[in-house]
């Protein structure tokens, strides 16, 4: 997901906080948006694939037909 979607989410969340009478929540939502950008700045799936022994068998994604054609980062998945 690219940054503009985080901005979109943040605007929506802040509007909801206002609607619920919780304007004090908006700075925390902005901080959460920053943290989400930081979280997404790392490709954790790629990092995990670089450490095969770390994969728990129950969560290791299976190779699916057509995976070789999957879109790159920043594109819809």
């Amino acid at each position: 997901m690219s940054d503009w979607l985080i901005e979109d989410w943040l605007a929506s969340a802040c509007a909801d906080a206002d609607r619920r009478g919780l304007p004090a929540l908006k700075p925390l939502l902005s901080a959460l948006a920053d943290a989400t950008r930081a979280l997404r700045a790392v490709d954790w799936y790629e990092a995990l694939s670089a450490t095969p022994s770390a994969w728990p068998s129950a969560t290791r994604p299976r190779q699916q037909p057509g995976d070789e054609d999957r879109p790159g980062d920043g594109e819809p998945r």
Binding site: M1, W9, A13, D16, A17, L22, A24, L25, L28, L29, L32, A35, T36, A38, L39, R40, V42, W44, Y45, A47, L48, T51, S53, A54, W55, P56, T59
Partner: protein, 453 residues
């Protein structure tokens, strides 16, 4: 022994109680007297079990007189963080949300401690629902640090650390979801152990984030923490006494992660940590630099892992009675409701990466060594503190060096390591291999005499 008896360790007191030379009732009365004298100012306790504690103590003294000793915890006064159920006693979680609650039974760890002969003197104050690191957002009044009452004792198990330091109880049981045992231990100068995740049962304990929650001891020595850990684990070896504690510091190999962990440190904290390493090196320990490549991602991963779990637990009460929460805790719970499931899932993958990072850093080492807190205890109510000329968020600073090991589940312990010129304690943190908490305790016992000034 020169200090009053109720300031000594379980290790020192147990033989006296077992031999009938020290009555549990006298020890319990001494702890209750400390509470009566100082707790109005420090606010370490939410519930004090004065008469009930004395009844427990007399019953245990009667057992001793009859020739029965349950083990090293027999007749020792301890306290429980007020998230942990004790039958017949309120579990408030330091919140008005829980008004009227009385625990129907003991948490499993409470039952094991009771069976081992503990005397419960009371339930300690905390950051409301353990959702914070400073113990000032609580329905029962901010907890004060006994080393400087204008400062926080850390949290969330702030009352537990204060109780241990001030002689209000010989040890205490806390919980740790991002550092909540180790942080107050460092800020107040106690030993605090977070075992490997899922090693000690958390049933009967109000959860914060279940996949990150741990229960563990705050104590006056590594030996005491080890004993309490074994008892709470339900291990028959807890009856062994004395514990096979000491290995020499000589030959220990400690991994020192510097990148990220030393990037933001108060100058005095940095100095005390460097001194500890020097003393350990002089004692024959070896230090090797190690790296945890993704450590810089810890805080956002922690936020996205922990918040949804906390918000899910509180969903019904935050909808029904939001005004009963303290304002800051309410806002943090509300924040978690906006977090996207996709990012929570991403954080779970990140935890696997971080776990592998820490496992690799530990390869060939007995433990990792790092400061517990990057700053001394902050002023009560402060939002930011100055660290080497830069304002930093208190919350971020308090969690910065501890929360990684909640994400990964590795056991970690904080031991006292000197203090600042102003008399505020500093903590020395050791991190061990998963599922080898006793190995970590053995390493900590070896380090303890060399880092504790």
């Amino acid at each position: 022994m020169t200090a009053p008896l109720h300031f000594h360790t379980i290790t020192e007191l147990a033989p006296l109680v077992a031999a009938g030379r020290l009555a549990s009732e006298d020890l319990t009365r001494a702890c209750l007297a400390e509470i009566a004298a100082h707790d109005d100012a420090l606010r370490a306790f939410i519930t004090v079990l004065g008469d009930d504690a004395l009844v427990q103590a007399r019953a245990l003294d009667a057992e001793t007189a009859a020739g029965r000793c349950r083990g090293p915890l027999h007749g020792i006064p301890i306290s429980l963080k007020d998230l942990i159920d004790q039958r017949g006693v309120p579990t408030t979680a330091a919140s008005r949300v829980r008004e009227g609650h009385v625990a129907a039974g003991d948490a499993t760890v409470t039952a094991r401690l009771r069976e081992a002969g503990a005397v419960f003197v009371g339930k300690t104050n905390l950051h409301e629902f353990a959702f914070g690191t400073t113990s000032d957002d609580t329905a029962y009044g901010a907890v004060h640090n006994p080393h400087d009452p204008e400062r926080s004792p850390g949290g969330s198990s702030g009352g537990s650390a204060v109780a241990v330091v001030t002689g209000m109880s010989i040890a205490s049981i806390g919980t740790d979801t991002g550092g909540s045992i180790r942080i107050p231990s460092a800020a107040c100068g106690t030993v605090g152990l977070k075992p490997t995740w899922d090693e000690l049962p958390c049933d009967g304990i109000v959860p914060l984030s279940r996949s990150l929650d741990h229960v563990g001891p705050l104590a006056r020595s590594v030996a005491d923490a080890w004993l309490l850990y074994l008892i709470m684990r339900g291990d028959a070896t807890a009856a062994r006494w004395p514990l096979p504690m000491r290995r020499a510091a000589r030959g220990l190999r400690l991994g020192i992660p510097r990148a990220y962990f030393h990037d933001i440190l108060d100058d005095e904290v940095r100095g005390r940590f460097a001194e500890s390493l020097t003393w350990l090196r002089q004692a024959g320990a070896e230090m090797v630099d190690v790296t945890i490549p993704h450590a810089a991602g810890t805080a956002p991963v922690y936020l996205h892992a922990s918040l949804p779990e906390a918000s899910a637990y509180h969903a019904a009460t935050i909808a029904a009675c939001p005004e009963r929460y303290t304002p800051n805790v309410r806002l943090r719970i509300e924040m978690g409701r906006y977090l996207l499931a996709e990012d929570h899932a991403r954080a779970q993958v990140a935890r696997e990466v971080l776990r592998a990072d820490v496992d690799r850093a530990l390869a060939g080492c007995d433990a990792l060594a790092l400061p517990t807190l990057p700053i001394p205890a902050p002023p009560i109510g402060a939002g930011t503190v100055d660290v080497a000329g830069t304002p930093e968020s208190v919350r971020n600073m308090m969690l910065r060096l501890t929360q990684l090991f909640n994400l990964t589940g590795h056991p970690a312990i904080s031991i006292p390591a000197g203090s600042t010129e102003g008399g505020l304690p500093c903590g020395f943190q050791l991190v061990g291999r998963r599922h080898d908490t006793e190995g970590l305790l053995a390493t900590a016992a070896a380090c303890e005499p060399h880092v504790t000034a």
